[in-house]
């Protein structure tokens, strides 16, 4: 699981950043950002976080507020406290009950289940 990976960078809830943020490893963002966030690893947007800008990541877990488009190569997870105003594009998306989301979604348009369990191996008699 990606949540178990060591988070190298933590931006606390009392930090406000104006400008773009680039990160190549795991990032936890709890502060306020007026600008884009680009992360080649996975990112966690905390409950107290407010992001006014676009987010481009490998995979992201959103607990806070995002005003902007989110593009993830792998997956986007929206937790129950998430508020997203913007378009999202990802390979996989999971949404919990209680999320506020206004925007356009483009997720798995082929409709093929990517998390389908592997078929059980046949037992030779």
């Amino acid at each position: 699981m990606e949540e178990n990976k060591v988070i190298k960078s933590i931006i606390g809830d009392d930090i406000e950043i104006t400008g773009d943020v680039k990160c190549s490893s795991q990032l936890q963002f709890d502060g306020k950002l007026d600008g884009n966030l680009v992360c080649t690893g996975s990112a966690v947007i905390g409950k107290t976080a407010v992001v006014n800008g676009n987010i481009t990541v490998e995979s992201v877990t959103i607990n806070g507020t995002v005003q902007g488009n989110i593009t993830a190569k792998d997956r986007i997870e929206m937790k129950s406290t998430a508020r997203v105003h913007g378009d999202i594009k990802a390979k996989r998306l999971s949404v919990e009950d209680g999320v506020t989301f206004i925007g356009r979604s483009e997720v798995n348009p082929s409709g093929v289940a990517t998390d389908a369990p592997a078929p059980a191996p046949e037992v030779k008699k």
């Binding site: 949404v95 009950d97 206004i102 925007g103 356009r104 997720v107 348009p109």
Partner: protein, 271 residues
């Protein structure tokens, strides 16, 4: 063969006496044989045959030898049969509780287990409990508290009412006056319906089903495991399971989506 002794009996008392004597002799013979059967070796059998008193008489010797021959080589107690209980011991199985809605007056009442007398407690109507499958032409109203399945070959006359607990739609119901399900409506591939009839019900699109709607599909709760194309407006909760796919504009107060599900279109998820 041992020589048989001939006994002449000419009265009833003699018959009784002879029987008693035979029973006594047989009991003595078996009592002598029983301890030997515990050791049960073939070598002992010849010794035993000679050890039995009165072995010279034909009856006794036959009893002794035949009982020895039938003795098995080793006697083992049969294993007790293992009985596995159907339900775990100490667990009381409680029948499932369900809510029944009267199709006449709309009154809902709870029921547990088998419904012996299917009367509506409010309007005293004897309710139909059958599961109905509509496969051909249907000209009368369908009202039941069981399940209703409408096959693709069904031909429904205009203006009829379909009312059931769970209604599976696989055919054309666009000319029906009302399609109401107290629990859920299941939409199969090939379902043709006017989207407004589903407003008050929970709708399920099972895995493998593909549904296309021309106008906005309105319902109470929608669970998608198959594929649906078209605009959706849900009053309570839209749930998209893994493998499910929604293509179209979505409006709902609550959205639950699993990893592996698809959603393409404009979304308005706000309470």
């Amino acid at each position: 063969m041992a020589k048989r002794t001939v006994v002449v009996i000419d009265s009833f008392s003699q018959v009784q006496a002879y029987k008693r004597a035979r029973e006594r002799d047989a009991a003595v013979a078996t009592a002598k044989v029983k301890p030997a059967s515990a050791t049960n070796t073939d070598d002992n059998s010849s010794k035993l045959r000679t050890a039995v008193p009165g072995a010279a008489t034909g009856v006794q010797s036959r009893v002794a030898t035949s009982s020895l021959r039938s003795m098995p080589a080793s006697i083992t107690a049969p294993k007790p049969r293992e009985v596995t209980p159907l339900n775990p011991i100490g667990v009381t199985v409680v029948p499932k509780k369900r809510t029944i809605t009267c199709y006449s007056c709309g009154y809902s009442f709870p029921a547990t287990g088998k419904l012996h007398v299917p009367y509506c407690p409010k309007c005293k109507l004897l309710l139909c409990t059958d599961d109905i499958v509509i496969d051909g032409e249907q000209s009368s109203n369908v009202q039941t508290i069981g399940d209703v399945v409408i096959k693709s070959t069904a031909k429904l006359v205009d203006g009829i009412t379909i009312n059931g607990r769970s209604v599976t739609i696989g055919g054309d119901v666009s000319h029906c006056a009302t399609v109401f399900a107290s629990e859920q409506i299941v939409l199969e591939t090939g379902a043709v319906f006017s989207p407004t009839v589903l407003e008050q019900t929970n709708v399920i699109i099972p895995a493998g089903a593909e549904i296309k709607v021309s106008s906005t599909l309105k319902c109470k709760r929608l669970t998608v495991m198959g594929k649906i194309e078209g605009a959706i407006s849900v009053a309570e909760c839209l749930e998209i399971k893994a493998g499910g796919n929604v293509v179209g504009d979505v409006s709902a107060p609550s959205l639950v989506m699993e990893l592996g599900a698809g959603l393409t279109g404009s979304c308005k998820i706000i309470k």
